[in-house]
Every structure is written in structure tokens, then in C-alpha cells.
Amino acid sequence: MRVLHQLLQLRHMREFNVLIALILMGLLISLFTPYFLTVSNLMGVSRAFSLTAIMSIGMVMVIITGGIDLSVGSAMGLAGLITALCFDAGYSQYAAVAAGLGVGLAFGLTNGLLITAIGLPPFIATLGTLSIGRGLMYMITHGVPLTPQTPESFSVLGQGYVGPVPVPVVILLVLTVIFTIIMTRTRFGRHVYATGGNESAARLSGVKVQRVKLAVYVLSSTISALAGVIAFSRYLSAEPASGFGSELEVIAAAAIGGASLAGGIGSVLGAVIGAALIGEIANGVVLLNINTYAQQAITGGVILIAVSLDVLRNRMGGRG
């Protein structure tokens, strides 16, 4: 009885809708193909969406403060590229990874300071750094992928397994747990929600809102940089256009997961499930032999349906 009761409590969670959508979509795809619900396929799907999902963890925190980070794809691509450059120059793998994450830190500090110290709107600040990042990548690579020699142990990050589970998925799960705890159980998390919920009330209550904002941009870029390092470890090739356009998918994941672009609302778990849903659709399109060009259109439809349902549900629940 108690277990049943607790299961019923789940439906009050914000993430419930998107979780149901994920399950229904999975069942729908399984109706048409026996290959979807297999361990190897599910693990492959998970690995494929894990990078988007990891980045969406940083993004959803930014969105909860009422901001947006368009530069995540550039932070990711540039971090992978710098990691590759370090290997190329003969540095150790630890130095290479640290340099990659350092790129993320620098991106985040730049975004955060443009937004807090100068007061640029987040959309503009991160649009600028997005473009600078892309430009730097072309300048560094001259459009040619970089494929340096790397030690065996480095490729574990992107290619390894823990039992049947790919390492990037393990990293995703660990980050999901850590950041869920941070956002729901710590003072910092509370301050992130308060800043997005009502910035001036938060500031007048003593919340250091500028510091909170700086922190979420640094976290978002650094997490994206980690995704970039993992991507490089997986393919062992730093592509000049790596990460381009991924910001839209990452924002979509957060939005499908219930985050409000107006700030104050959203969750890490929701964003991760949102990324999973997008990944599941991509997989379904391939398995069902649907034109892959249709995938983007289907994802777009899902975003609109998911967010509309969320908005309608809130309107019904509200007291006008």
C-alpha cells in the first residue's frame, strides 16, 4: 500500500508529464520495431543523448535564474579542440583535460561578467561568445579536423563501459544526482530559484543575485566543456564544427523538461528526461526508417506539445 501511495505521489512531480511522454513514446516505437527495447539499443541511445543531457543540466540552472546560455555549443566544441591541441603538443592527459575544462571556465566567467558587471542581456552576451567561439575554432583548425595521438586510458571517458553502461551515461547519472541535490537541498539552489522567481525580492532579502548569476554561467560553460572533452574522447577527432547548433537542442531539453524561460521554474531531472525524449525520437526515426530530415520537425512538434501541455496544466491548477 505504501509503495502504491508513494507511486501515486509521483504524479505531483513537475517531471511527471515528461516522464510519461518518454515512456509512451518508447512504447509507441516498440509497437513498430522489436529492436528498440533491447539493452544494446537503449544503451546506445543513452550514450547518444548523454552529451545533450549533460549540457542541459547547466542550461536549466541558467534558465531558472531567468537567463539563457546560447554559447554552450561553442564552449563544448572549443573545449574538445583545446584538449586535442594539448595532446598534439605532447602534454599529459590530465593537463589536456584540465585545459579543456579551463576553456569552459573562461567562457563562463566571460559570459557571467558581461551579464553581471556590464549588465548585458544574457541573450546578447552569450550570442557574442557563441560567435567568438566558433570563429576561434575555424581559426585554429583552418577547417581541418585535429586527430592527435592519445593514450588508451583517455578514450575510456568517451568509449568505455561500466558493466553494460557506457561511461558518458555514468557521468550523466552522477551529475544528475549531484546537481539535483544542489538545486533542491542547498542554499545555493534555493538562491538560484529565488533569483529567477523574483530578482528584486531576492536581492532585497539579501541574496547576492549577481554572484548567483555568475556561478550558473560558470557552471553551464564548465559542464559543456566537460561534454566537449567526452565527445573528443569518443571520436578522438576534434571537428572544426563540433557542437555547432547544439544550444538549441539543449534549450529544448530544458523546456520540454518543464523549465520556464521566464525563470524561477524548472528542474535538473526534467531537463535530463527532456534530453532523453529528444534522443529517443532520434533513435525511433532511424529504427522506423523515417526520413532523418523529418527528425528535427518531429522534435519541434514535441517541444510545442510538451510545453503547451505544461502551460495548460498550470493554468488549470492556478486560482486565476
Binding site: 537541498r185 542547498t186 542554499r187 545555493f188 534555493r190 538562491h191 530559484y193 529565488a194 522567481g197 523574483n198 528584486s200 525580492a201 531576492a202 536581492r203 532585497l204 532579502s205 539579501g206 541574496v207 547576492k208 524561477g264 521554474i265 486560482r319 486565476g320
Partner: protein, 500 residues
């Protein structure tokens, strides 16, 4: 007089709450009908049903001029002759007066372009009918709050409304503006328009009403002509308690010890607009309740924002004899200050968060080890304050959005009281809240002073300032224009300092 609008046995149920329980209300043409009641009594819900924002539960009936109607939405309500003027102004600041009056029904020329000349002429006609002198081509943003309210009334008149609902229209008006508004409402009534007037101000109610209906806990308690009503009776009907029991007697807890002294406080101006606050000097004693009075625009809120670090300033502030550098609210809070802001919805509360989360935002570290929030401790502390302050909420987890104004204000007070500041600034602590909640807020401020806290009360409600302050400082045009001890402070002396 035949009733224009009849609401018969109207009920409204929200999940878990019965907001209205078989309410009857008859509104006549040409009368000013005051709707009185504490916050949460159901006034707002009733208004929303009248204007089509909410639908009543099945079972009741609404009749207009005797004919049963279903009011579908606000546009439909307007076409039936019902207009509302909300407490929060619904005007667009960057449009002109006439553009606001004719918003969404602009007169067109045959070419399809807006007929600006006609719009301005018609606006001028309505305004002069109201007897006010406002340029139809002025930007609404440049007008005072009172003038903006008149624009809304002009708009309602130009719709040919037969019933105008005014939801606490004088709450943010100066004395002069308020009396203009009252005069105007009477004039409209004499022309046959029905007015529903919601107010918490007793004097005002007796000045303007023809009839009064009192709501309590979602029920109609009584409807009677104002000639058969007294202040005491009205208060008893609203709160079910006597006026004397509500407001206790004043006891001063002020000591001789100076806790904070402010010298040469002057605003650092970025733009040359609004009032320029300068050379403000005063001392605040431990345990003192210091009132700050001034007309709207005298700079009261600005002074408090400078002290609290949310407005750039020069000058010295010292606390306990030591200079305090305050350049942000968090600096101020570290120096032991707290600030209950004037506008609780936009600056006091995170509306989408729960009572518990709003309550603890000022002092979350009290419940934290490392950075982790101990939610059990937090909830327990919040529950204590909910009980102590009598906050009406189903649980600490309720979103503050769903509480009534008075209860929201108590949440703001609770979040600061729990922080235990040495100095608490409260700006318009009882604006828009009912008389019962107001008395509770006053007694809470009194008991905080008794515990040794120093309190600065900013209010445009003069009787309130006189009732609770140990000393009154009066501001005029950005400077201190008078300081009065409790003995010397009377309505006349304070007003003289504020205006003379």
C-alpha cells in the same frame, strides 16, 4: 430605484476553499455601493465573477435589468455595461492619454488610419465632463498615480458603462487626489451610473457610500444604507470583534541609546528626474518606533532605499557608533537591517515560491549546515511563525501567490522578524490590508520594539503614523521639514510640516 445588477445566491468553490457561499448582492443605478470586508472575505472573487474573469458555481443567477445573463468574459461584461478599475493600474505608460482611453477601439478614418483628431477631441470631452485638466496628448508615464487613475475612469465612462467597479482606488493616492476621486465618483452616481466601491478606509466609506454590503468568510453579512451604519458596527460586522479590542494602547519602549545615526544622506543621481533627496540627518534610538511621513513624492521610500543600500547615495550612516558602509542590500542586512518593502508583490515576495521558501529567504543560513538546508528545522520555524502571526494558509508549502494580501504581508513581516534585525524598516506596512490584519501588524511591530528592535515606519496613512510612532519625522520635497515628539504630533502639526 430598480436594481441594475442582481447577483442571487452566488457561490464559488476553488480546490479546497469555498470562496463565496450563496452571496446576494443588488446594485442600483445611480448609487455608490461600498463593498467592505477583510482580505479573503471574497470581495475580489465576487468582482471577478461580475466582470466575467471567473464563472460562478452552478446554482446562482446573475440578472442585469431583470434579465438573467451569463457573463462570459471581461469583453462581454464591458458590452453589458460593466467596467472595472483595478487596484493595480492597467494603463500603458508609453502611450498618450487619448491612446489609452481608446485603446483597442481607436476611431478610424475611411483610409483605415487612426483618426487622432477625433480621439483627442473625444478624450478631452470626457475629461472635461469629469472636471479634470489633463492634456489628451500627454504621455501617461509622465502623469501622477492619481491622474492615471482618472484616465482609467475616463476610459470606463467612454465605454458608456452603467456600472463601474473600483477596487481600492484610493490606496495609492495622496489625500488631495483621493478627495478628487471621491468627488468624481459621487458625480458619476448622480448621473445615473452605478458605482461599486471597495475600500478599507472607514472615513472614506462613510464619506462616499449610499449603501454598504459587508462580506465575511465568503458570505453576505449585511446590506444597509450608510445612514443606518456606524464605524463600530461596520468593524464588528467585518471582523466580528470590537474596534477597541483591535487597537491596543501605545506604550513606548524607546531608550536614550542611539542605535543608528544618519548624516548628510544625499542621493547620487544618475538621471535628473523624480524627487532629489538630500541632507537627511536623523538618529534612531534602540527600541524606538520612528514614523516617517510625507506626501506622495516627498522622498520617503527613497530615503529608506538609500539606507538599505539599494539606491546610490553619499553621506554617513553609523550603527552602534561605528561607521557602516552600505552599498547593497546584503551589506545592510549584515549590519542588522531589515526592509519590508512598500510593494510586497513585486519586491517583497517570490510569488511562485511557497510560504516556507519565502519565509526563510532572509535567514536561510540559520537552517543550513555546510550549504545543505535542514528542511525539518526550516519547516518547524516557519510553522511557529505561521501560528504566532496567525497567517491563514493551509500549510507552509502553499504558494504565497494563493494567499490574500493581508496574509502575504504577514509572510513578509515573518521573514524579517525571524531574521531578528536590530533595525527594521517597514514601508507602508498596512497598505491594502484589512482592519483586522492591520491591528495585528501594529501589535507585532509593538512587540518587536519591546524586544529592543528599532523600527522605522513609513506610511502615508497619517492616523497610523500617529498611532504607533514614538517620534515622527516629516519629509517634504526630499528634505526633512519637521520632527515631532509623540506629544506634539497631531494630524494638524504633521500635515503642516508636510505641506507648509
Amino acid at each position: 430605484m430598480k436594481p441594475f445588477l442582481e447577483m442571487i445566491s452566488i457561490s464559488k468553490t476553488f480546490p479546497g476553499v469555498k470562496a463565496l457561499d450563496h452571496v446576494d448582492l443588488h446594485l442600483n443605478s445611480g448609487e455608490v455601493h461600498v463593498l467592505a470586508g477583510e482580505n479573503g472575505a471574497g470581495k475580489s472573487t465576487l468582482m471577478k465573477i461580475m466582470t466575467g474573469v471567473l464563472r460562478a458555481d452552478p446554482g446562482g443567477e446573475i440578472r442585469i435589468e431583470g434579465e438573467p445573463v451569463v457573463i462570459k468574459n471581461p469583453v462581454h461584461a464591458r458590452s453589458l455595461g460593466i467596467s472595472i478599475i483595478y487596484q493595480e493600474l492597467a494603463v500603458v505608460n508609453n502611450l498618450t492619454v487619448s491612446e489609452n482611453v481608446f485603446l483597442a477601439r481607436e476611431p478610424l478614418r475611411p483610409t483605415g488610419l487612426i483618426d487622432r483628431a477625433k480621439m483627442n477631441a473625444d478624450t478631452r470631452a470626457v475629461l472635461s465632463e469629469l472636471g479634470v485638466d489633463i492634456d489628451p496628448e500627454a504621455m501617461v508615464g509622465t502623469l501622477s498615480v492619481g491622474q492615471r487613475q482618472l484616465i482609467e475612469i475616463a476610459r470606463a465612462i467612454s465605454y458608456k458603462s452603467k456600472l463601474i467597479i473600483m477596487d481600492e482606488p484610493t490606496a495609492s493616492l495622496s489625500h488631495h487626489e483621493a478627495s478628487t476621486l471621491l468627488r468624481m465618483s459621487r458625480k458619476l452616481a448622480s448621473q445615473g451610473v452605478g458605482i461599486v466601491f471597495i475600500s478599507h478606509k472607514l472615513e472614506e466609506i462613510f464619506e462616499i457610500a449610499d449603501r454598504v454590503t459587508v462580506l465575511r468568510d465568503g458570505r453576505t453579512v449585511d446590506t444597509r444604507p450608510v445612514s443606518e451604519m456606524t464605524s463600530d458596527l461596520l468593524v464588528r460586522l467585518m471582523v466580528d470583534r470590537e474596534l477597541d479590542q483591535l487597537f491596543g494602547h501605545h506604550t513606548s519602549h524607546a531608550t536614550a541609546e542611539v542605535l543608528m545615526s544618519v548624516r548628510n544622506l544625499t542621493e547620487k543621481r544618475v538621471k535628473d528626474e523624480g524627487v532629489f533627496v538630500r541632507d537627511v540627518d536623523f538618529d534612531l534610538h534602540r527600541g524606538e518606533v520612528l514614523g516617517f511621513f510625507g506626501l506622495v513624492g516627498a522622498g520617503r521610500t527613497e530615503v529608506m532605499e538609500m539606507i538599505f543600500g539599494s539606491r546610490p547615495h553619499t553621506g554617513e550612516i553609523s550603527i552602534n557608533g561605528k561607521p557602516a558602509r552600505i552599498s547593497s542590500p546584503s551589506d545592510a542586512i549584515e549590519h542588522g537591517l531589515g526592509f519590508v518593502t512598500e510593494d510586497r508583490q513585486s519586491r517583497g515576495l517570490v510569488l511562485g515560491m511557497s510560504v516556507r521558501e519565502n519565509f526563510s529567504l532572509t535567514h536561510l543560513s540559520d537552517y543550513c549546515s555546510l550549504d545543505f538546508v535542514n528542511r525539518r528545522k526550516e519547516t518547524a520555524a516557519c510553522a511557529d511563525y505561521i501560528r504566532a502571526l496567525g497567517i491563514k494558509t493551509p500549510s507552509p508549502e502553499q504558494k504565497v501567490l494563493n494567499l490574500s494580501g493581508g496574509n502575504q504581508q504577514k509572510v513578509v513581516l515573518a521573514k524579517w522578524a525571524a531574521r531578528r534585525p536590530r533595525i527594521l524598516i517597514v514601508d507602508e506596512p498596512t497598505r491594502g490590508i484589512d482592519i483586522g490584519a492591520k491591528a495585528e501588524v501594529h501589535s507585532l511591530l509593538g512587540s518587536m520594539a519591546e524586544e529592543g528592535m528599532s523600527i522605522i515606519v513609513v506610511s502615508s496613512d497619517l492616523p497610523e503614523i500617529l498611532a504607533i510612532s514614538d517620534r515622527v519625522i516629516v519629509l517634504k520635497e526630499g528634505r526633512i521639514s519637521g520632527e515631532l515628539t509623540r506629544e506634539n504630533a497631531t494630524q494638524e502639526s504633521v500635515m503642516l510640516a508636510a505641506t507648509g
